[in-house]
Subunit: 708 residues, 2 copies
């Protein structure tokens, strides 16, 4: 199936063309407003013309073949129309009609399956059903079911939305410019993943904006993210589902698989995807990326403003959102002191004072000076551009900016700039346009603006070469049941991946236990060995700090008695005797195997850190060494590893190695593993030791591994 027939058709045919409100009417309204009508045919048995364009009675009556049919009529008409369009050469269809799988009933799901079969048979690339269609702004193709204010929206943001209503709303932002706007609907044939792939490859699309409810083809989705990361093409995602309530809504909304939100965060982190939190951010962040002439070469910001109050707000918001305002160099400070009034105190963020608000040369001078500072990556110009210009300041300022942009563009040493307003106000369209021509986006008001700057800076800092981007997506769905291995079995498997554990042995008699204890050296720990008993301590199945043969013998009996009385039917392999490890800093390393994106490795400090402060970090397997180190260092409690309160610095490097190896293990077992836990892993000044471990496999695959 050919997605270009759908998104870049040479000719289209609208069935159900109309002048009334509704799908047919609004589609035609858009077409006559924006399209070259020589590429369009209208069909409606009841009309001779629509908006002055001749109308054919049937598809058959259309005098030429066409690529794309837009069906605006109800569900019941669809199959016949598809067959007729196919005869006219159509290999693509936009289908607005709803009443398919999104309804949730057996009949409606069956209807969608039949539709699918027909499209496959006819080789028709279908958008929808239950969608709002699309607009290809590059080639001026309108196949969209809603109207918006008339305006030239051609630009370089490629938008994909899993909600049709949202897709229509996203057109309403007064300064947005798109290459494509696509409402993917039920994605019966052509899916969100296909559109994403198309836009990542499309040269007219500088940035992809995606409203995402769920992914159905994780492999293809990840491949597009990977390709975008390699090309440095930004993907900005508004993903529903941070809250349980929202996940519930998303699943009732499109039937999308709304996976674990944290896994999406990990996925996005790996590929440098920008995750935003509402529509405003989705649009403004995409626009910023599409307008910026180039990315900042460092992730630092200089903020320049006309008042102390606004400068203070920038300093505070930058602090809250983690923006790096570097100090200006001495040379910059000296130059600024000469340019500014005597009562100004140059600094970053900079209060230029209002005296520069009507001084084009002065403004240009400050801008040049700040741009020349080698510590500065981007310049954030604080200014509230009103709808109606009252204060002439913008004229002087804009002239100053233009001067600097032109001279710097010529000499190749222009640094990127953005404008940050302090109150919401539709921006003056004329100046908005002028500033955009100069490569400057007006961000939304300050709180949004600083969050968006942070997204930009995180994108600047992202380094694809530091991540292992291969992913380990399972080749089959998870099974129903699971089967746990014993601690000893688990550790034996992990040992092959370089996970260091204390010496240990499963002993079936007291004598063997005592022998092994004296062989490995006291003190030892004794634990019940049974894959049926997951919570060993709860049934009295663990005795620690055994210092003599007598204590080992006593423990052996006690544990056996406890096991038999609490879990009489458990299969017991014996008593696991292990040398007691020296105490170290307790760390947890775990794996959960996500049904869509495969194993996710978790790292956190043991006990209250994980449980009370949720201080953990996640990464999708496989994990590079750099990713592992960043997982460790991103923990708030990482301070405890770094030589806390005069204690020695602990071996973060070995901890990172363990994370890498665990991820490798999980990747190698992506189709069999369900869960893995090393808890605790002791971290020492030198090295680490996995004191306890548990592997839980998917039920029907456990034999292969359990037998090791």
């Amino acid at each position: 199936m050919d997605i270009t027939k759908l998104l870049v058709p040479r000719t289209i045919c609208v069935v159900g063309a109309s002048e009334k409100e509704g799908f047919g009417g609004d589609t035609c309204r858009n077409i006559v407003k924006y399209m070259d009508l020589s590429r369009v045919f209208f069909v409606n048995p009841k009309r001779d013309s629509v908006f002055g364009v001749p109308c054919y009675q049937t598809i058959d009556a259309v005098p030429e073949s066409f690529d794309l049919v837009i069906i605006c009529t109800p569900k019941s008409t669809v199959h016949d129309l598809l067959r007729q369009a196919h005869l006219k050469g159509a290999r693509a269809c936009v289908l607005y009609a709803s009443g398919y799988s999104e309804v949730g009933t057996v009949e409606c799901r069956r209807d969608e399956e039949e539709l699918q079969h027909l499209c496959i048979k006819l080789d028709i690339a279908l958008m929808g059903p239950n969608c709002a269609g699309f607009i290809n702004f590059n080639d001026q193709v309108q196949a969209f079911a809603f109207i918006s204010e008339e305006r030239d929206r051609r630009g370089s943001v490629g938008l994909i939305s899993q909600s049709g209503q949202l897709c229509a709303s996203l057109m309403d932002s007064p300064n947005m410019k798109f290459s494509y706007a696509i409402s993917s609907g039920n994605s019966s044939i052509i899916t969100m993943e296909d559109y994403l792939e198309f836009l990542v490859n499309d040269n007219g699309t500088k940035v992809v904006a995606l409203y995402l409810e769920g992914v159905k083809k994780p492999e293809q989705f990840a491949a597009s993210l990977r390709k975008a990361a390699v090309k440095r093409k930004p993907i900005v995602v508004l993903k529903a589902g941070r809250s349980a309530k929202s996940r519930q809504i998303a699943s009732s909304h499109t039937g999308s698989l709304a996976g674990s939100d944290e896994v999406y965060d990990a996925l996005f982190r790996k590929f440098g995807v920008v995750r935003v939190s509402d529509m405003e951010e989705l649009l403004a962040t995409s626009l910023l990326f599409s307008v910026l002439p180039q990315l900042p070469d460092k992730s630092t910001v200089a903020s320049i403003n006309f008042s102390g109050g606004e400068t203070g707000i920038c300093a505070d918001l930058g602090f809250i959102y983690g923006i790096d305002f570097p100090d200006f160099s001495d040379s910059t400070l000296n130059k600024l002191k000469e340019m500014l009034p005597f009562y100004a105190t140059p600094n970053n963020p900079l209060d230029m004072t209002a005296s520069l608000s009507n001084d084009t040369d002065g403004y240009a001078g400050v801008l040049r000076t700040v741009m020349d500072d080698e510590n500065v990556g981007l310049i954030a110009i604080g200014y509230t551009l009103l709808l109606q210009i009252v204060d002439p300041c913008i004229h002087y300022m804009c002239a100053g900016i233009e001067k600097v942009v032109k001279e710097r563009a010529a000499s190749g040493c222009l640094k990127p700039m953005v404008m940050i307003p302090f109150i919401e106000n539709t921006r003056n369209y004329e100046y908005m346009e002028t500033l955009e021509q100069l490569g400057i986006t007006i961000l939304p008001s300050s709180d949004y603006a600083f969050r968006i700057l942070k997204y930009l800076m995180d994108f600047v800092k992202y380094d694809y070469s530091q991540v292992d981007s291969t992913l380990s997506i399972p080749s089959k769905p998870p099974t129903q049941g699971t089967k746990a291995l014993t601690e000893h079995q688990s550790k034996k498997l992990l040992a092959k991946y370089g996970i260091h554990t204390p010496p240990e042995k499963v002993c079936t008699s007291k004598e063997a236990a005592v022998d092994f204890a004296s062989e490995c050296g006291y003190p030892v720990v004794a634990k019940i060995d049974s894959s049926d008993i997951l919570h060993k301590s709860d049934i009295g199945g663990v005795k620690v700090n055994l210092k003599t043969a007598q204590e080992v013998e006593k423990a052996f009996d006690a544990i056996m008695d406890n096991a038999k009385s609490h879990m009489p039917h458990a299969h017991i392999g014996g008593i696991l005797v292990q040398k007691m490890a020296d105490a170290g800093l307790e760390v947890i390393v775990g794996v959960n195997n996500d049904a869509q994106f495969g194993p996710v490795v978790l790292c956190g400090l043991g006990g209250v850190f994980v449980e009370i402060f949720q201080d953990t970090s996640l990464c999708l397997a496989p994990v590079s060494k750099a990713e592992a180190l960043s997982m460790v260092n991103s923990l708030q409690s990482a301070k405890l590893l770094q030589g806390y309160r005069g204690k020695p610095k602990l071996d973060s490097d070995s901890l990172a190695d363990i994370i890498v190896n665990i991820a490798k293990f999980a990747s190698d077992h992506k189709d069999t593993l369900q869960e893995l836990d090393i808890n605790p892993l002791f971290v020492y000044k030198n090295g680490v030791c996995a004191v306890d471990a548990l592997i839980i496999n998917r039920a029907d695959n456990n034999l292969k591994q359990g037998a090791d």
Copy 2:
């Protein structure tokens, strides 16, 4: 001095009246646009008229007396003009001129002092110098140095700004409506605190919006906050200084005392002041309070939207910002099911589906049903109102809202509503006005909107009767030096306030130490007793878990030796022997005495909780029992007190009592105390025990207490 002469003058005189750009010109432009000119006199020796209004050569030539003189001329002219105006009966002055204390030089500071003396002598209520003036919208008095777009801005938000530039900018928001807008400038005579007091008392002001850099009169400031809290009049504050950079800017900007930011947070919490983080929030939050017909009677929100995508965004943002979306009652759900299409799944947040977007009765029906749900406090209507209306939905919707508002207002069971747009866009002015008439504010886009809703709900939850609002503002400034008490002295003082400590005694001989140890019972702890040695452990001055007389004797000698070798000049009172307390959960309770607002009590769990996670809570003394409990429960680590992992529930109540008592101690010693630390305080299943304590007094006051 009479502030009403300044803010509510019957007649005014503008000196330096002009038609040019600048203070004089802009002031006159504002006056001729908005004021009753029979109340105004213009003075300019060089002109006969300004904007067609007759102009007098001198103040003396003005035919009548006047209340307020607005001086638009330079600093050098001010003293003479003030004297002349005084002779004409003026008892108030707005002075724009700068070049006073804000410059920072000795001369300029002296100039401001002289100005001050003159105003006091002439009994003139002065606004400024270095200010932008004010507008009294209630009585249409214009004394403002900047022009804005012409618009009726009369409303009920009273604005005070410590930045003139910001005050002017805050007028630019297209939907703001004010009672007063005041730029307080250098506050030489009439200060920010006076304006606040005035607006808290003003019946035309429903809410005060304050841009704050620092406070000079803490007592008066707190009194106004208290009065507002009692009246339930909201005060919304944008306070500069969350970051060190911003504090630096604020202090160089107006010379305001930018105190510790956390102390301001504590102050605002005590009085239910709403703290916002930028200008957009300052305006929008104030507007919300001023437009709402009444406060919600509970702090819960029902969110209603036309699409699943927008509903999901609301659910996620509500989750992020802590908005309480209660489940609808069964009766509500059943009614909604009848009203909505079969494929809708009623829930809160609610996706009504787009089918209701052109159905006035349907919309009204849903609104009524949601409003009748007893779990709902406020209704958040999701809708992006565009500048140019394209989609007729708003017509149907607004008609539905109006229907419900009118019928409910009549029956007295209307619940408050707000509108939340999803993208930034100057709102359609006509509908904005219509909605406002119906009591509905359009908030800024969703991310702002949900934060603002959270501010509203926190205000709703605030209960003045639960706080001790008296404050313990010191009656004199802190001294330079400090003097520490010994642990034993500290504990003796605290014991009088019901702080339980282990039995202990300062022993000057080994024999006495052993005697006391056997009297109080082993094990004991021995510590050096010296007010010169604050960090006892660091010099080997502490020995714990001493179980026998021999161990006590050995420890006695060792500690003495260590003290003498490390701190040969320290005054040593002996060895403090104390019964070793049973281990409990380690808590820290501390006090720092803020120079402006007095003692601030801190509570946090010991060790890594405070140091790594900064998990602490603060409250200004005195602290009520309810405040103390809320301090404890607001800690993330409070879970450890609440019966963590099967351990017993600990005595939070006794911990709260200790906080109350420590606050009382600190209040009683507000002029002498500098710092206090109880670290650790052990919390048990029943009761608590202060194991170590340290009081540091201000130097010249310590004798009184130390002698106890």
